[in-house]
């Protein structure tokens, strides 16, 4: 996983609540057994004029030329609800998004972000709404995300701190792979399992059937 570093980028506002992962990447756009090849299908139902075609809908914010290089997405409540498909995050990341700012996230989606080096920033709707209005009024405006300091900044002096679990922060900053980390605990896991199997043999013994 690519380590997360401080960056400044164009931010795109998508101020809808309950944006579901079917909307982020429709099932019909997931054509390969692969984590890539998804950016084109990102928000396909909203981004293109008709299903299956690729004519951009000028009304959808990502089609605004000023937002072409957006890497930060500013969103509404319960972002990423619905299906657990990690393809939603793979599509966002492949498109270029490294940070999503929302008042709340679906828990599985949020985990999927962290697993792919995408930073989910939670801020109150009362903070996000004016930021989003500013971004809509001046498309192409920049935001700066500093994970180390847990600070979000805009170009006109706005500065907000956000919370994140220190373990999640360390993982994002280091880009370390959690599977490799957990595999170093293999003996501890084996010892737990042996003891557990003696105490709860009923949970194990039927599995070889």
């Amino acid at each position: 996983m690519e380590p997360f570093t401080t960056f400044t980028a164009v931010a795109a506002p998508l101020m809808r609540d309950n944006v579901d992962t079917d909307a982020i990447i429709p099932s019909r756009e997931i054509r390969q057994v692969s984590k890539s090849g998804l950016a084109d299908g990102l928000f396909a139902g909203w981004r293109y004029l008709s299903i299956g075609e690729r004519d951009p809908d000028p009304d959808f914010m990502l089609n605004d030329p000023a937002l072409k290089n957006a890497r930060i997405l500013v969103a509404g409540e319960n972002f990423g609800c619905g299906s657990s498909r990690e393809h939603a995050v793979w599509a966002l990341a492949e498109y270029g998004f490294r940070t999503i700012i929302a008042p709340s996230f679906n828990p599985i989606f949020r985990k999927n972000c962290l697993a792919n080096g995408v930073l989910p920033v939670v801020l109150a709707a009362s903070i996000i709404d004016p930021i989003a209005r500013g971004l809509a009024a001046a498309p192409g405006s920049l935001l700066t995300v500093n994970l180390e300091e847990q600070i979000l900044q805009d170009e006109v002096g706005g500065r907000w701190t956000f919370e994140i679990e220190s373990e999640e922060k360390r993982a994002l900053l280091s880009g370390l792979d959690p599977i490799a980390l957990t595999l170093t605990l293999s003996d501890t896991i084996a010892a737990f399992r042996d003891l557990d199997e003696r105490e709860r043999s009923w949970a194990y013994s039927t599995l070889s059937r």
């Binding site: 309950n18 054509r31 299903i51 657990s84 990690e86 360390r170 949970a203």
Partner: protein
């Protein structure tokens, strides 16, 4: 220390907190399906990481497979076969058992797991699928994850997880006749909203929940993910024990006795503290139907599409968009809406009791002209059982298609779908834009309501039909 059922299972599976924050939790069972399982297995293989305990992993074909009679690995979805083949190859290479297309035990992952006794009370179970929470109905801690976490679980038999908050929803009273767990789940979403349980494990408790059979409890817990919950759970009781007994992967002999003792001890202590407590009266619930594009946009079947002033501020944001997508206006009575299609299926409502109740309504009646009606049993076992009871004849005589088991048109993967702007009354769980097909307008409801509507040709109250 007084603990909740969740705490008891969590503490029993917690290996430690390697970093002091998130817990390392032991995973008893892992379920995979061809939609997300193939990619996880492929990714592990590419990194040369072994599956730690293949005996604890179960894989099934359900999401992408066609449900037409005589189906093969070729699918209507253009590249569907690739997913099927990748899952076949990945499970074979890793030594994971697979309920393939030709297996008598094939079916929707959340239907076959309880049916075969794979999920047991007190176990931890994960699957890269959001509706894994259904299985909390058995008193297990079962939750949905993404692909990367599935890889982690396959490689280590553990997950790194933050302890969720604890919520209890106590549902008093009793569901009225003709009102089901699906209506209850929808009514809860309407009351508390789709973010209502964000970050929490929801324990459903109270007299109305205790009165539900296991299949209804599965339906109730199924929609926990629509609540943004970490998962849902119901304490195991005599109903649970009766259900599990004799299933394929259930313990037997002395082990059964010990297991039952362990299971019945899994209740929240009387003084256990929840972070959030909600109450709800089941007696108030009527058959429910969604009108919008999120499951919280729901009203009682005799109601109308609400005006923006009648819904909470939190729900007002997507309101105009939802009305436009659904082709509706405020004030329109739900029962006045003519339908193009009726769908009975999905991990929410496709078990044998669902089919029996729908069949009781369909018996001796005909689907209205012009309505495409489809029934997709939740598993091959459900299908066989239904056929033994002759239910397939009832469905077919009424004009329903009778399919092979799978997720089918619960979601649109690029293959079969309903048409654009088609109004579908559906026993599934998600009414998102284009979920059941490009532009399709989905109204979620119970199987009874779907059956009654199919006959009437418009959304219809099943309580008004004589059975």
């Amino acid at each position: 220390m007084q603990r909740t059922i969740f705490d008891k299972i969590w503490d029993g599976h917690r290996i430690g907190s390697p970093t002091g924050e998130t817990d390392l939790v032991f995973v008893d069972r892992i379920l995979l399906h061809e939609r997300t399982g193939g990619v996880a297995l492929k990714s592990l293989l590419a990194r040369d990481i072994a599956v730690r305990d293949p005996d604890h992993v179960f894989a099934v074909m359900d999401h992408i497979v066609d449900t037409f009679p005589g189906r093969t690995s070729e699918t209507l979805m253009p590249t569907g076969k690739d997913f099927i083949v990748a899952t076949r190859e990945g499970t074979h290479a890793a030594g994971i058992r697979l309920f393939d297309l030709d297996s008598p035990d094939q079916g929707i992952v959340h239907v076959i797991s309880p049916e075969l006794g794979i999920v047991l009370p007190g176990t931890t179970l994960i699957c890269p699928d959001s509706h894994t929470c259904s299985q909390g109905a058995l008193g297990a801690l079962a939750w949905g994850i993404g692909s990367t976490e599935a890889e982690h679980a396959l490689a280590t038999s553990t997950l790194r997880v933050q302890r969720p908050g604890r919520m209890r929803i106590t549902i008093s009273g009793r569901l009225a006749r003709g009102v089901t767990a699906k209506d209850l789940a929808l009514a809860l979403l309407g009351r508390f909203g789709v973010g209502g349980a964000a970050g929490h494990i929801v324990e459903y408790a109270g007299s109305a929940v205790e009165a539900l059979d296991i299949e209804q409890r599965l339906t109730l817990c199924n929609m926990g993910t629509e609540f943004a919950a970490f998962s849902a759970i119901i304490a195991p009781d005599a109903t649970t024990v009766d259900y599990v007994k004799g299933r394929r992967y259930a313990p037997v002999g002395d082990e059964w006795d010990r297991a039952v003792r362990d299971w019945l001890a899994l209740r929240s202590d009387a003084e256990a503290v929840f972070d959030t407590e909600l109450t709800f009266d089941a007696g108030d619930v009527a058959p429910m139907v969604t009108w919008g594009t999120t499951p919280q946009q729901v009203v009682a079947i005799d109601g109308a599409v609400p005006a923006v002033g009648e819904i909470g501020k939190a729900m007002a944001e997507g309101y105009p968009r939802a009305l436009q997508y659904m082709g509706l206006e405020a004030g329109t009575a739900l029962e006045s809406l003519t339908i193009d299609a009726a769908f009975i299926g999905s991990c929410t409502n496709s078990r044998i009791s669902d089919l029996r109740r729908a069949a009781a309504i369909l018996d001796g009646r005909k689907v209205a002209p012009g309505v495409k009606a489809i029934c997709v049993p939740g598993s091959s076992n459900v299908k066989r059982q239904a056929e033994e009871e002759g239910l397939h004849h009832v469905f077919q005589r009424a004009g329903f298609e009778w399919r092979e088991s799978g997720c089918s048109m619960c979601f649109f993967a690029g293959g079969e779908s309903f048409g654009p702007q088609d109004r579908v009354v559906s026993s599934t769980n998600r009414n998102f834009e284009s979920r059941q097909g490009p532009g399709t307008r989905t109204h979620l409801a119970s199987p009874e309501t779907v059956a009654a509507s199919a006959i009437a040709g418009h959304i219809a109250d099943p309580r008004k039909l004589e059975i």
